[in-house]
Structures are given as C-alpha cells and as structure tokens.
C-alpha cells in the first residue's frame, strides 16, 4: 500500500534550469511548490570549488556530475531494422543529474531561435513549396514575438553578455543582423575575444559575412541580476562545458535563482527522490500527483494540484510513456504523439593548424566565440538546394584540456611516436571553425519504450531510434565548405575538415541537445502539449524543456528553453490559476 503524503499546490519533476524557473515564478505567485530531484544537492563550494573543479578525469571522463547510466540510461539504434542496445556509458550527449541539472555544466552559449524557426513549416512551405513526405516539421504554436519578453527576462536573469543586432526593428552595428527584433540590449557587454576569434572575424568579413560575439553566460563583468543575485567576472579558466564553475561567473540555476528560492517558506526541495510515474485521477480528467521512491526504498504518492515536468526531454518523454499519458507515437502509421519528432544537432567543423602563432586554447570559456548567422535558418536563399534550415558557423575557444583536445593533422596515425610528436607540436596552435546545424524532424526518428531493457526499478528504458536524414546531409554538405573557406582565410598552415560522415554515431561527444518527444503545437493530433506547454490530455500537467521543440534549430537550445519556461509559468499564474482548465480549445 503506497503511503500518501499531504498534498501540495505544485510538484516539479526534476530540478534543473526549468525546475528553478518554475519554482521561482510559482512561489512568487504564492503557491506551495515541491521540487523532486533524482540526484543530489549540488553547490559551488561543495561540488566544484576552484580548488578542485579543474579535474578533467573526474568530471568529464568519469562523468562526475552527469546522470549515472547504472541508474538510468536509454537504448539506441539508428533505425527500426536494428535492435536497440543500451548506452552503457555516455558518449554523444551527457544528460545532467542533481540540483541544477545540465545547467551546472553547460557552456553558456545562449541564443534566441529566429522568428522563422517557430513557424518552420508554414514559413518554408510558403517560400519553397511543399516539404518532402516524411519530414514531420511543424510550427510551434507560439511565435517569437510572443516569446520576446521572456527571452529578454531570461537573458537578464542570466546576465547574458552580448551585442544586440536588432533593437526594436532597427539593425545595430556589431550584433547579429539576422536576429529577431529585441526590446532591449543585452544586460552585459560581450566578452573580450582572443586571437582565434580575431582571425575568424577578419576572415569572415573578408568573405562578406557578418560576425558577431557569441551571446555568453560567462560573465564579462560583475553583475547583479533582477533577483539580487551576484555573478562574478569570468576568468577564462578553460574548464567550462562539462564542468561546474568555481567562481560564480557562469549562469546556472545555482548562481541565478536557487539562493533566493531557498529563502522562501513555500518552496521545498527533496533530493535523491526519483519519480516513477505521474498518476492520473480515476476519471482520467487530471493528474492527481506523482509516485516517487527515495533512498529508503519506500514508494510514496505525492498529491498535487499542478504537475510540471522538468526532467529533461528524454526523461519527460519516458515518464509520459510509462505513466500512460497521451498517445504513444507509432512510426509505422505516423499516428500518436508522445515520442514523436526526436531531433538532435548536425555538427561538422574545420580545424586550423597554425605554425608560428599560439592559439593558447587553455585561455578559454564555454561561450567565448565569434559567430556568423548568414547560413542559419532561412537567412539565405534555399532555392534549388533541396534542404531547409541551416546553422551558425563559429570559432570558439573553450579549452585545451589535453585528454579531450589534442588535434593532429590529416594523415597522422592514432598512436605511436609520430602521433605523439604531432600532438605536442599542434597542441597550443589549433582552433576550430564549427557548424552547428539544425535538425529537422523526420517520421523515422523517434522515442519509445524499449521492449527488453529495464532500469533499476524494472521499468522499461527509453529507446531512441535516430539517424541523420537527407535534409541533414544536404545541409551539412552545403555549409561545411563555407566553414572550411573561413578557416582557410585565418592564416594557418593547414586546415583539416571534420565532415559529417556515415550514420549518427552515439559514441563521440557532439552536443547535449536532445529535443522533441513532448512537442508543442496547435492540435492534439500532432502535438503532446498546446502552445502554453499544457498537456492536451490532462489540463493540470505542464511540460518544460527542449522536448517541446517540434524540430531543433541551428542554435543551442537553452535560451529558447528558458523563454518557453517563463512563458508557460506566466500562463499558469495569469491564466490557469484564475480559471483552471484547458487554456486552448482542442
């Protein structure tokens, strides 16, 4: 008999970026909020202080703060003809775990999707004609204009450092000329760039492109955010992505929201508690709460008036499937929605090797970079190209951590004396021009429950069926040469192109940008939640995270994830609380 606890107003499943955002907004509105986090409490001085944060082995290679696959993982296959096998340890992506989630160990590259990204189907079909069969690209149901104030607020909470390119419709020098109109400048000026960015920007301008500084959550100066929380200046330590920041200079839930939450009596956080399922009331009309297990092994039922899923796209999708909420997606018929439109990111790059000059990659930060958007979204004419979307092309200097980053030129063997020498000669003298390409949805890429493998509690693992699509390959084949061209203009000795080849490989790290599975949209026939991120099936269930994206754009997702969270939180406080029930008529 599962013990029942006293009810609360709101339960948040997971406590990373979106959990912190919802907690802050909903407690400010007077609701009693309980956050349940599967992993442990994490804070700067305890978990990644300046005295030991710089530990490559511990934090990256031994996955110090990532989700433990022994506790929960997923199975993977490239296509439905194969048998999915477990990701026994992480490779291509690194899901977060613990308080702050992946918000603790992200890079800090913080973009807004383009206005056209939110209407990818209607915009592209209007311009280029009907999309190919099998491309399940959809509109979000919400527009950039509606999200703009929430982008603005999230950027201010984080203290994003950048240069506006479009203020209120007017183009501004030094920013991204392609961006959607902004109501305000960035709260902090751009970071100071290094040698590699200078060379990249010069080469890009030579080609008629418009480079601008990467919008960065690594602080360019001391900053106090709207909640009164303090962020210190970034020290370019080169231990950003995959690592926690030891001196409060990277935006994270810990540095931007959590200390204020901890002062609120109506906020409670329970760590080391894993939600097993979301319960539905007997009449099927609403979610009644969640069932969870803590480290004592006991299972309890936690009733709640509102449930918000903040557990990352993969776990959110799995929880909905395990809880029997919504219709699971069936790739053969194309019916169903939960698990549909899983997308990722299409990555390629060109490495520049210098002879005389030192790029000194160890002087780096996660979002230190210059980028061009000329080949992103629909910023260029796709007529006759056979694909939609694009990606930014950027030159970052994030690290020279030796286990991870020791590039060698083309033709050098993978081990031995020749390799060792090439590694030494080039270690401090390389940089990379990378393409961060959009991932368009396709009916063959999806998430469902694995038929064979289970987690520690005996529940089926999530199964990921994913491979690159024709759109992906045409996109990368078109844009990678441009990255190469810029790279060749940077004055190095040689350039090595790292093109996208073959099937999606789950082994080498690419990005932790898993999107889809719980997509938002205008109709319950083709989406899991409505434009307010409210479940079409259970009106008191809301979903957060990049799982909302019907497809992924050519940008890092966090900026848009944050904006959607603030947008949905506002829908709860301003609309749902006044009149509980569906906010959109199906």
């Amino acid at each position: 008999m599962t013990r029942e606890l006293p009810g609360v107003d709101v339960v948040l499943v997971g406590f990373g970026w979106t959990g912190a955002i919802f907690a802050e907004k909903l407690t400010a509105a007077g609701l009693d909020v309980l956050a349940l986090e599967r992993g442990p409490w994490r804070d700067t001085a305890k978990d990644f202080a300046t005295t030991f944060a710089q530990d490559e082995l511990r934090y990256y290679w031994r996955h110090g703060m990532f989700q433990e696959t022994s506790q929960s993982t997923l199975t993977f296959r490239n296509n439905s003809a194969q048998t999915a096998l477990p990701m026994r340890h992480w490779g291509s992506f690194l899901p977060g775990n613990g308080v702050g989630g992946a918000g603790v160990h992200w890079n800090g590259q913080t973009y807004r999707f383009l206005p056209s990204d939110f209407v990818a189907r209607s915009h592209n079909e209007e311009r280029y004609g009907r999309l190919p069969e099998g491309m399940t690209v959809q509109d979000y149901g919400v527009t950039y204009e509606e999200l703009e104030p929430h982008f603005d607020y999230f950027e201010k909470i984080c203290g994003i450092c950048g240069k506006a390119g479009n203020l209120g419709g007017s183009t501004v020098e030094g920013g991204n000329p392609f961006e959607g109109p902004r109501s305000d400048e960035y709260p902090n000026p751009p970071m100071e760039m290094t040698f590699s960015q200078d060379r990249f920007a010069a080469a890009a301008r030579e080609l008629g492109l418009s480079p601008f500084p990467v919008p960065s959550a690594n602080m360019s100066r001391a900053y106090v955010n709207p909640l009164g929380l303090q962020l210190a200046p970034c020290t370019y330590c080169g231990f950003c992505e995959k690592y926690g920041c030891g001196n409060y200079s990277k935006s994270s839930p810990q540095t931007t929201i959590i200390p204020v939450l901890m002062q609120r009596e109506n906020f409670t956080l329970r760590t080391e508690t894993e939600v097993l399922s979301i319960e539905t009331a007997a009449d099927g009309s609403r979610a009644s709460g969640v069932t969870y297990v803590d480290t004592s092994g006991e299972t309890v039922f936690q009733p709640a008036e509102i449930v918000v899923m903040c557990a990352y796209p993969l776990e959110n999708t799995r929880l909905m499937l395990l809880s029997g909420i919504g219709t699971p997606y069936d790739p053969r018929s194309g019916e169903g929605v939960v698990g549909k439109n899983y997308c990722y990111q299409v990555m390629s790059s060109a490495t520049v090797f210098f002879d005389e000059e030192f790029t000194n990659g160890f002087v780096g930060a996660g979002a230190l970079g210059m980028t061009v958007d000329d080949y992103n979204g629909d910023n260029f004419d796709h007529s006759g190209l056979g694909f939609i979307g694009g990606g930014y092309i950027a030159c970052h200097t994030t690290n020279a951590r030796p286990i991870e980053s020791h590039p060698v030129p083309e033709g050098v063997p993978g081990w031995g004396s020749e390799w060792k020498r090439a590694m030494r000669e080039n270690f401090l003298k390389t940089t990379t021009v990378g393409v961060h390409g959009a991932s368009m949805a396709h009916r063959s890429n999806y998430l469902d429950l694995d038929p064979t493998y289970t987690d520690a509690h005996g529940r089926p693992l999530l199964r990921m069926t994913y491979d690159f699509t024709l759109n992906d390959r045409r996109l990368t084949d078109h844009i990678t040469p441009i990255a190469e061209e810029i790279a060749r203009g940077m004055g190095g000795r040689e350039v090595k192109v790292n093109a996208l080849n073959g099937s999606y490989d789950s082994t080498p790290y690419q990005t932790t940008h898993n999107t889809g599975g719980t997509i938002m949209g205008s109709s319950p026939a083709d989406s899991v939640v409505n434009r307010y991120c409210q479940s079409w099936d259970l009106p008191n269930l809301f979903v957060a995270g990049a799982g909302l994206f019907p497809q992924n754009a050519g940008y890092n997702p966090t900026g848009t994830v944050g904006a959607l969270a603030y947008w949905a939180a506002e829908a709860i406080t301003e609309q749902y609380m006044r009149q509980p029930g569906p906010l959109v008529q199906a």
Binding site: D43, T44, A45, A49, T50, T51, F52, D184, E185, Y186, P187, N188, P189, R221, A222, Y223, V224, L227, G228, L229, Q230, A232, P233, T235, C237, G246, N247, Y248, T255, P259, V260, Q263
Partner: protein, 416 residues
C-alpha cells in the same frame, strides 16, 4: 538597459533597510503603547538580543533563551526573555528589567555574568529599557526552562561576579560630547551601548574584561579575531569611507570585505534592519577614531615571499585577482584587507583552512563561498601564503608560522 552593476546594491540597501525599521520621533509625553513597543523592538534589534537569547542550533523559539554560549570560562545558557510566568520574564517589573541592563542584576538581585553585555547596555536610559521591556512583554509567552550553566568552581558562584564588577564595571550613563555633532554622539551611543561592538572588537584581559587601551582595536573570541574597527588615521578601517561602513552593515556587502561568520550573524539579525541614518552615525563615529602608528615590520625572507607569491597566484587569483584587487562586493580585495593584515592572524588562518561565505541578507541573497584549503595546502604553505600577503604591501603585519597554522588546524579539528 545595461545598468551599472554596483548601483543595484545601492538601490537594494534602501529597499532592505526600509523594510523593518521602526518609525519613531523624539519622545513625547504621551507614550502610546504601540510606539513604545516599536521603539523597544528597534532597540532590541540594535542590541542583537535575539542572537544570544534564541537557541538556533536546536530550532528554539525566538527570545526563549537556551542558546549555549561558549566563553573562555565555560558554557553559559541564555535565559528566556518571553513573558512566560514560570520560565521567562512574566513576573518581572520594569524596574527589575532596567536594573538587569543597567547594573547586571536579575530580579532576585543576583549578579549576571558579563557574557550578558550589561557593561555596554548600562549606557541606555530608563526610557530605553522600558521600551525594550514593553516589546518583550508583547511577545507570545513560551515555556522554556533555561539549562544550568556549565561553569567550573569558583566561577559558578554568582557572588564571585561581584568582585569582577568591582574591578571592571562602571554603572555609566551616556553623556553627549558637546563639541561633537549630534550624529557623532548618536554613533557613539550606539557603538558603546546597544550595538556593544567592543564586546568582540575590544581586547580583553585574562578575566574577560575590556582593556581600555585596546578599545575597538580588535579582540579574540572563540578563536576568531574580530578586527580593529577604528576608522581614523592608522586605524584598521582607515581606508573605508563612511558609505563603505553603511553598506557593510546595512546590506552585508562592502567594497573591501563582507561580514562573515559571527559578524554575519550580527548583520543578518541586527544591523541590516537598522535605519540608514543610524548606520551612518555609527560610521561617522568609527571614522573619527584614530589609532597609534602601527609597529613597523621587516619584510619577510625572500624565499617565503617567492613561495607565497606562487601560492597566491595559483590558488587565490581566480577570485581575488592576480593583483589582489578582488571584485568589490564579491571577493574581497586583499592588498589592504583588515582581516589579512590584522595583528592576530587567527581569522585569516581559519578562513583559509575552513573556507567562508558571504552572509545572505535581504539586500544581497547570494551565498558566495570561498572553499576550504585544509586538504590542499600544508601548514607551511598556508603560513608562507599569509606571510606573503601580510608582508608585501605598504602596510605590513608580522609573518605567520607553520606552527600557528598547525595549532589552528588542531583546534578546528576538535570543534568539527
């Protein structure tokens, strides 16, 4: 809008300070009970009564006493100030309460241990203590028996305190100094009276009494060194402006440093809730206190400076900056730091070993933490690091030995 970061704190001070301050004017003949209670509440905040008279460690009710206070002489438990008849002040009179704060006697005439800082509170007037009493009477009575003190013979005999008082206690009244401003006098009243800064910041003799010559020149308490807070020429905070002191006390953030540990408690419970003009008065008074020229110290040996400099650059620069300028209001600048350059390096050693954090306050809720270095640096290394920091600027303090660090390490190991 990209506002200047520091101005946010300035705005926050005003917001934070306004929140809980009591509004009072000059005493009127007709004292309304409400205004009396409010006045008393404000004075109780200034006196920081709640800090000692609440058992925080065990979730005790406010003012219900029972907090264990460790003194060099043993452990004393604070009494219950709520108006409970059996265990609190329920049956006390106003006269008895005044005598407690003015003379250090309880309702039965027995002496109070000067852990209760009545040598400072004695400066308050009968009107002040009546107001505090009215405030305490307005609280919910809480039944909470005060535990027995844990003092060795003969200190456990209260009559022994009579001797101490004979030597060291003066039942003073506060007299304004006529040729000083009203603000200065108000500041002096607060510092020497309710705020009882000297309780920690004045050096003590072996019997725990203030040494007059050491007035606000620093004191050691529970192995923390509360630094020299004279703000005049040669004083510990000579380089602070009035505004710096006001911000430090009012928001828990300052340009030069932040309140930590015990002082963090004081700011959180007491000073962040005082009116800005009172904090300004305190600052003006402190700024008027000159000090003797500091003892000249020789520069340390070159070898220690070299290792110390290397240790500093490798370990400390990430927050305190390569040139020791820190990040004002975040990470203390160290080149003129009062903590680093204090005569007694106890606090500096302790912070390096165990870490420290900024006090979250209403105006500044961040908890910026310095991590512990105990596992990473040896006694000799910490000693060299501090010797470098103390010996390589224009103001020098004495070098630190590995033995001093070892002693503190052992003391802390016992505590934790």
């Amino acid at each position: 809008m990209s506002g200047r970061p520091a101005s946010r704190l300035a705005l926050a001070i005003a917001a934070g300070l306004g929140a809980l301050a009591a509004a009072t004017g000059p005493a009127t003949a007709q004292e309304l009970a409400h205004s009396q209670v409010e006045r008393g509440r404000y004075l109780a905040i200034a006196g920081d009564c709640e800090a000692c008279h609440t058992d925080f460690e065990n979730g005790g009710a406010p003012f219900a006493g029972g907090r264990a206070l460790s003194t060099p002489f043993g452990t004393i438990y604070s009494p219950n100030l709520t108006p409970d008849d059996e265990t609190g002040l329920g049956r006390w009179t106003r006269e008895e309460f005044h005598r407690a704060l003015d003379e250090g006697r309880d309702d039965e005439g027995r002496h109070l241990y000067p852990a209760m800082p009545y040598p400072y509170y004695t400066l308050m007037t009968r009107q002040d203590t009546d107001a505090i009493f009215a405030y305490l009477r307005s609280l919910e009575p809480v039944a909470a028996e005060t535990p027995e003190n844990d003092l060795p013979f003969p200190l456990n005999i209260r009559r022994a305190v009579a001797g101490w008082k004979l030597l060291y206690f003066e039942n003073e009244t506060f007299d304004s100094v006529p040729d000083q401003s009203e603000e200065w006098n108000r500041g002096r009243f607060l510092v020497d009276g309710p705020l009882h800064c000297g309780g920690c910041h004045t050096g003590k003799n072996w019997l725990g009494a203030d040494i007059d010559d050491e007035y606000l020149r620093g004191g050691l308490l529970e192995n923390w060194f509360a630094p020299n807070i004279r703000g005049g020429e040669n004083g510990g905070i000579a380089h602070w402006e009035v505004e710096d002191i006001v911000k430090f006390l009012g928001t828990g953030r300052g340009r030069h440093t932040v309140p930590m540990q015990r002082m963090g408690e004081v700011v959180a419970i007491s000073t962040q809730n005082l009116r800005e003009e009172d904090l300004r008065a305190v600052a003006v008074y402190l700024k008027s206190l000159d000090d003797a020229v500091r003892e000249e110290h020789d520069a340390p040996e070159a070898a220690r400076l070299e290792t110390g400099a290397g240790l500093y650059f490798d370990n400390c620069a990430a927050c305190h900056a390569a040139d020791r300028s820190g990040v004002p209001y975040f990470f203390a600048p160290l080149d003129r730091s009062n903590k680093v350059l204090a005569e007694d390096p106890a606090s500096a050693i302790r912070i390096i070993l165990g870490g420290a954090r900024t006090q979250p306050t209403e105006a500044a809720p961040s908890m910026l933490a310095m991590p512990p270095f105990a596992w990473k640096l040896s006694d000799a290394q910490i000693a060299d690091l501090l010797t470098y920091l103390r010996g390589s600027g224009d103001r020098r303090a004495a070098p630190v030995s590995a033995a001093q660090v070892a002693e503190m390490r052992e003391y802390l190991a016992q505590e934790h």
